[in-house]
């Protein structure tokens, strides 16, 4: 065990078992995310820069500070640093293909009254998912006010990047069709900036998936992808129930490739469209 002894030997640099447990508890309470044992290296890598910025010698000292003073801003930053924000344009292309060929058309036709289609990117991170949908809608000839897109995330830092709509070369290289890049982006030095015509199609706001989303919806289409994997079983179940409560019956839920609706078959019906698996709200 990397206990306090070794911690002392290395000038208290390595995170103590006690502090790791403290951070596990903080992250769980603030986000629902379960930090698995053995992720000490990850904690070190992600929190050391924050410790340094506060003039602290180690992550252990950062933990001491968090215990000593009630500082919401700092606590939030620590939790945000521990979340994985990886995303990309048109991640899991088969799902976008299903939207293009089948689902968006069906959803548009199923509306009882003339109203915009309502779409929600529920763990939006830096915005690529919501903007991919916006580009797809534009390509399909949907006007901005025919298709309302909301992106939410727990972390303010990623939402700010999402709102800015500025991406690095690596980010636009990944998964974004070149035809869309040339059509919907402008280049400024090393950055690629999403054009206003796409940016204005999406709104971003902070939302914790563990809270009710009724006031945000109801939605026809929900992306809740690559976020459930970080939660424990009970939290996943509760989030899926809350998501269902914010959807129109007949609306569609898209999950990440390795995620499932667990045992909630009474809420969602599994459907295959081409190569994609989607879930229809009952």
């Amino acid at each position: 065990m990397i206990g306090t002894e070794q911690g002392k030997a290395t000038g208290g640099k390595e995170i103590s078992a006690e502090n790791f447990a403290f951070l596990q508890q903080q992250v769980y309470r603030e986000s629902g995310i379960v930090l698995e044992p053995g992720k000490q290296y990850l904690v070190e890598a992600r929190l050391a820069p924050i410790a340094r910025q506060h003039g602290l010698a180690s992550v252990n000292e950062l933990c001491n500070l968090l215990r000593a003073v009630s500082n919401d801003g700092l606590r939030r930053r620590v939790v945000e640093a521990m979340t994985t924000n990886e995303t990309q344009f048109f991640r899991e292309p088969a799902q976008y293909e299903a939207l293009r060929t089948t689902l968006l058309g069906e959803l548009l036709a199923a509306r009882r009254s003339p109203r915009p289609l309502t779409c929600w990117s529920a763990a939006a991170s830096t915005g690529q998912e919501a903007y991919s949908l916006a580009m797809l809608a534009a390509e399909m000839g949907l006007a901005a006010n025919d298709c309302d897109i909301l992106g939410t995330d727990l972390a303010e830092a990623v939402l700010e990047r999402a709102r800015a709509g500025r991406y690095s070369q690596l980010e636009v290289n990944r998964g974004l069709p070149a035809a869309y890049l040339v059509k919907y982006f402008t280049r400024q030095g090393l950055e690629w900036i999403l054009k206003e015509e796409i940016r204005r199609r999406v709104r971003f706001q902070r939302h914790d998936l563990r809270d009710s989303a009724r006031h945000l919806g109801p939605f026809d289409l929900v992306f809740c992808r690559n976020v459930l994997i970080y939660f424990d079983h009970e939290t996943k179940r509760r989030i899926l129930q809350l998501v269902r409560e914010a959807m129109y019956p007949g609306g569609y839920l898209l999950l990440g490739a390795v995620e499932t609706i667990l045992d909630l078959d009474h809420l969602f019906e599994r459907r295959r469209v081409g190569q994609a698996i989607v879930y229809r709200a009952r």
Binding site: P93, L170, L181, V182, F185, T186, R187
Partner: protein
Amino acid sequence: MAKAMVVDDSRAVRLILRRTLEKHGYQVYEAGHGKEALAVLDQHPDVRLMLVDWNMPEMNGLELVRAVRSDPERARIVLMMVTTETEIEQMVRALAAGANEYVMKPFTEEVITDKLRLLGVIS
């Protein structure tokens, strides 16, 4: 086995791209410039995917794309440019000439595989 070609004047780049394609079941040919690529294509008309650099001696990538697309028999070859050219105007030219996709260097392996998946040429 499906066949692919990597066209780049850098041996190192060819090697990286070859390995990626081989992982996805392709038999891979190499060419160091456009003219050589056309010769390889004459020998192996069943090549269905080409990754093409832009700046090369003899015949550059854009000229190669145009040459391939001028032959109706080769209309179904999937062409992806992989290049240090990052101006939008250049991309537009490549797409207009008939390239199906475009990757900017430097790339990672995921960048290549994501695009190939998008093109439906790997699963």
